[in-house]
């Protein structure tokens, strides 16, 4: 099913309480956006500081958006094309992510119906992104729900919940079941299941990444080690020569003796320096490889909802 930018954007503006100006059939979607949304979508911090310091009432902006690149823009209004790649669209996506994090909802029944008198049980829903990361990544969206009365866990809970009509209006308190599990315990139970979930994955990706890492480290090591070996040999040779050349007498003032010693010393130090540099480089290369390849899993919850359902 292809994603419809059109549909998403219109729902977004509705959800943030914008005033829709254009009519349903218009090619151009015109909408007056509230101040807080304006601040989020258009990045103009100095403008807002200025307006507010003057105590002025800011004018709500009207946006004119088009979704079909084939349609000609009208001459008189300043119109923007929104596609999947537009920066504006990504701003809207990020705004939705910031604004849709935490909720408290109740299963909805029409007011006079039979079911409207049923007891609603408290559930905690967590939506999260599970990322498998090495030098490549893969994301999974996962949701968990827990019944706060009996501790029952439900995987993929979000998909179930979506099917029910929900409302923010709370029914009478007598109809609401009470949680018997604390928030922290609920979290513990869910996190434990999370670990199981993750370990149930096919771990090929991690094994492969580790193998790659070992292979790369091996290559780096053999490259630097062969050079280090050569240098070490040179160093040993020179140090041996040094012994031969060093004068037997401590207060030998023979100029030749002294100068030869200093020359040898200098080369000595140079080689030691080079060895140090190479070791440093080798360590850095290995660190970089570990940084790149070490497999790890990162879990980022992105929404948490308290839901009362039958």
């Amino acid at each position: 099913m292809t994603f419809s930018t059109d549909h998403y954007v219109k729902r977004y503006f509705e959800a943030v309480n914008s005033e829709i100006i254009s009519d349903k059939n218009s090619q151009i979607f015109s909408v007056k956006i509230p101040i807080d949304v304006d601040k989020e979508l258009t990045h103009r911090p100095y403008y807002w500081m200025y307006i507010e310091s003057l105590g002025q009432q800011p004018e709500p902006t009207t946006l004119h958006l088009a979704f079909d690149p084939k349609v000609d823009p009208p001459d008189d209004i300043d119109c923007e094309l929104i596609t999947l790649g537009s920066i504006r669209f990504h701003n809207i996506l990020n705004s939705a992510r910031r604004r849709g994090k935490i909720g408290k909802l109740y299963q909805y029944f029409p007011p006079k119906s039979q079911l409207s008198r049923s007891i609603l049980r408290p559930y905690l829903l967590i939506n999260m992104r599970v990322s498998l990361i090495a030098d490549k990544t893969q994301d999974h969206l996962y949701s968990l729900g827990i019944n706060l009365e009996n501790g029952q866990l439900y995987r993929n809970f979000y998909n179930n919940v979506k099917m029910f009509p929900l409302t923010e209006v709370n029914p009478h308190a007598s109809l609401l079941g009470q949680p018997s599990i604390s928030f922290d315990s609920a979290i513990s139970i869910m996190e434990e299941d999370l670990c199981n979930y993750v370990t149930e994955f096919d771990n090929q990706w991690a094994a492969q990444a580790s193998n790659n890492m070992i292979e790369e480290i091996g290559q780096i090591e053999s490259y630097y080690d062969s050079q280090l070996l050569d240098l070490q040999k040179k160093l040993t040779d020179i140090t041996n020569n040094l012994d031969d050349v060093t004068c037997k007498s401590d207060d030998c003032k023979d100029q030749i003796c002294q100068s030869e010693e200093t020359i040898e010393n200098r080369i000595d130090l140079e080689i030691i320096n080079e060895i140090d540099l190479l070791n440093f480089e080798k360590r850095q290369r290995i660190d970089e490889v570990k940084w790149q390849f070490s497999p790890r899993v990162e879990i980022s919850p992105y929404s948490m909802v308290m839901i009362y359902m039958v």
Binding site: A15, A96, K101, C195, N212, Q219
Partner: protein, 567 residues
Amino acid sequence: MEILKETELFPIYINRNLYTQFNDYMSNSRTDSWQLIELSHEAEKLLMAKDFHQLECIKHLPQVIPYPHQTKTAQKVISELRGRAILADEVGLGKTIEAGLILKEYMLRGLVKKVLILVPASLVLQWTRELNEKFAIPATAQRKHYSWDADIVVASIDTAKRDDHMNIILSKEYDMLIVDEAHKLKNRKTKNWQNINKIKKKYCLLLTATPVQNSLDELFNLITLLKPGQLGSYNSFLQNFVEQKRKPKNKDELKKIIDKVMIRNKRRDGGVEFVDRHVHTITVELSEPERNLYDAVTNFIRKHRDLNMLSLLTLQREVCSSSDATFVTLVNMLKNVATGSELELEIRSILDISRTVKEVTKAQRLVEIIKNINDKVIVFTEYRATQEFLQMYLAHHQISSVPYRGGFKRGKKEWMKDLFFSRAQVMVATEAGGEGINLQFCNNIVNYDLPWNPMRIEQRIGRVHRLGQSRDVHIYNFSTVDTIEEHILYLLQEKINMFEMVIGELDSILTKLKMPKGQKLESNLLEIVYGTQTKEELTAKINELGEKIIQAKEDLQKESGSVDIFH
């Protein structure tokens, strides 16, 4: 991120910030609507990376539809080459796009946040603009000391080389490093190489059309920057793979190893077709009044070589372009000349001669050409006065035209292009450089006058002869008998065949001759023109220059041929 659990193969981290936020909201009775929660979930779905290997970024690009070879390259670098690679496509295939795709993909996946991009100074703004416009990547061009702190920085290689800047760079850790024109890093003994080697980086791309210029060593040095040991130690590399400076042995094995770290697309493969160029020379004989004007100006210049060289050069070229342009310059010169002086008299007499030119032969021929082509044509001229003259002249002959100048704001450039596309037959342009406006719906170019810098001619042609042009390109050049322009055209067209060259080839040749961007070539030509007394001498010197350029071209072919030994 906090650690949740250590398993045998990997650690599991979790970000618990949302829990705290949840409790905050609940105690303040604050909640988000279900609508927004659904929208948030859908956003996550849209932005997630569903597969380890499949590129996600393509659908998220604002303006670019990449070519298949570009997508394939990006895919391969991420899946198989593990993000450390030499992008060595032949010139003109879009290495920048490939680098942009790879960067975008890693950023979308959260693997890359901090990026350093090192490019030649003249390309800093272009790279910054392309990344922002084509990939929606918020790159900033490095200007002051603090701009190194930005997440995505584009900087000049030379600026970065300075100790104070390099110290800052070496103190940071980059998720990705990109280096353009990386053949500058071919020698491990240079400071540049050593600096790049020291930079802490996770992923790295080196871009160059010529990874091997002189010897196989250079390839070894480039690869060592990415994956030290890939070709073994230096000694074992020499032993196993190097027959002579430029001749490899064990080619098959060498190729296999190089394939793991370098990608080189060639024009011939991958179905990327570059259309042909056809060059037409239009010979023009000056009428008597025009000849008089030309001779008068040329003699004037020879006589007064002590005057401002630049104005004289301009004057000489203008008289090859149009009498209008000449007129304007002469009138301006008058303003700076003492009244009653001999100089003033000379200039006035030339102005008189220019007034006798009633018919412009070149313009007449231009109208013929345009009518014969019977399709859209871009006419290039160096001079505003000529441009205005031509628009009037064309209109007089019922040919519709639009102007195009470097000074136009972007909006006006687009507008002119649209008019050219939908209404006018001809665009008369003074400006060829700069990116952005797509003129590939036109495949005919007339050089009404020739810049003496071949790179500028190349730029003109490059407006229509590039990836995306579907028809063969026709280039019309005027050769005005017995003028300097004739000699220059001879040099460029007959001698070094510049119009038949592939895109970018001229650039490489000029760089090799240490005449980057063609500027020194211009002054070389000037010296020849004024340093010679007879026509024979002039011809001989121009031939000599031609030989030098041909030699450089041949040397270059040998060099780029050697990379292809293993492909």
